[in-house]
């Protein structure tokens, strides 16, 4: 049982040293945070551009309805048969000026008070027709506005829907990016923390320096090997030399583990 525990500790620390070779500076977290901010800024910028495009489109629609569609439509609406009939009747009577009337009866001007009574009746009729003309024009305005507003609303709704769809798509893509970035940032933070804890543990054990020496030695060997290969020396000879050194290291590790197990 004790042996098993020792083996577990042994392998844990060997793997610790090996995994300690990676480098994860704190600046990676800073960089991830800068990237986060940039993503948020880019998203705001994209959305603002989209909104500006659709704001301009809405402006164009309102201009079109006010300056092109409405005049064209009204020119057709005033020709509407039902409206025309109502308007002409009311207009014909309501434009009569009572002052222009002279009433005669059997070829002679109508005497008072009959003249006054007839004129009063005509004025009442004209007033009625003027009221009727007002109602006709009011009816025209209501019906025309209904169509104008319906066209404006329909065109604007279509653009509003498309704008919302585009914004949703952009936000969705940025959400994917932010989720991915959060996972990467979380991983980097954990790696930086792990590295810090490893360094602290190794420092307390007094082996950090040795671990760094090992890393440097490996790098040195790698450089040397690379130099030898580039110099054109016999590849088999170099390989044999490297293999021999590796075997020696493995033998040393085996001996150390054996010693610990025996204690």
């Amino acid at each position: 049982m004790k042996k098993q525990a020792s083996i577990a500790i042994l392998f844990f620390f060997v793997s610790l040293i090996l995994s300690g070779c990676f480098s994860a500076p704190k600046q990676t977290i800073e960089l991830a945070e800068i990237t986060d901010e940039q993503i948020a800024e880019l998203q705001k910028s994209h959305i603002r551009f989209v909104q500006l495009y659709y704001d301009k489109l809405r402006e164009d629609i309102n201009d079109f309805i006010d300056n092109k569609w409405t005049p064209t439509f009204l020119s057709k609406a005033v020709q509407n048969e039902q409206f025309r009939e109502s308007l002409d009747d009311a207009y014909a009577t309501s434009t009569i000026d009572p002052a222009d009337l002279s009433i005669s009866w059997k070829g002679q001007p109508l005497p008072e008070p009959q003249n006054r009574a007839v004129l009063s009746g005509v004025k009442t009729a004209i007033t009625d027709e003027q009221a009727k003309l007002g109602a006709v024009l009011l009816g025209f305005s209501k019906a025309a506005l209904k169509e104008i507003n319906a066209r404006r609303t329909s065109l604007l709704a279509s653009v509003d829907d498309q704008e919302q769809m585009v914004i949703d798509e952009i936000n969705g893509a940025f959400a994917d990016l932010q989720r991915s970035q959060a996972a990467i940032k979380g991983y980097l933070a954990s790696a930086v923390n792990l590295k810090a804890q490893q360094d602290l543990a190794l420092k307390k054990l007094g082996v950090l320096e040795k671990s760094q020496n090992l890393t440097n030695a490996v790098l040195e060997k790698a450089d040397k090997l690379s130099g030898l290969l580039q110099s054109g020396e016999d590849a088999n000879k170099i390989l044999n030399q490297v293999t021999e050194e590796a075997n020696q290291k493995i033998q040393n590790i085996g001996n150390t583990v054996h010693e610990i197990m025996e204690e």
């Binding site: 109502s86 952009i170 030695a217």
Partner: protein, 91 residues
Amino acid sequence: MSNYDFDFSDEAKQTDDELSGDIQKLQGLSEEQLQKLLPNRVDQDKLREIIRAVNAATSENEKKAALMQQLQTVPGVVKDVVKKVISGSII
């Protein structure tokens, strides 16, 4: 309903037909333009799977770091064993 409730829907329709070219230009982006301009979304299942894998690695690192922190407080006897393990013979 008064006698003057006019119906101008035919006139509106005629106006739409006459100005259809202008109306078309005010419809925003076409389907084809949208396809070209909108970002291509990643496969959501694949993305979830990858993020899950990265989060698992993060969790593993956090556990290791916590363990490492605890090991810094273990008694000297363990340290001695470890020191032997990672003594000069390995290096």
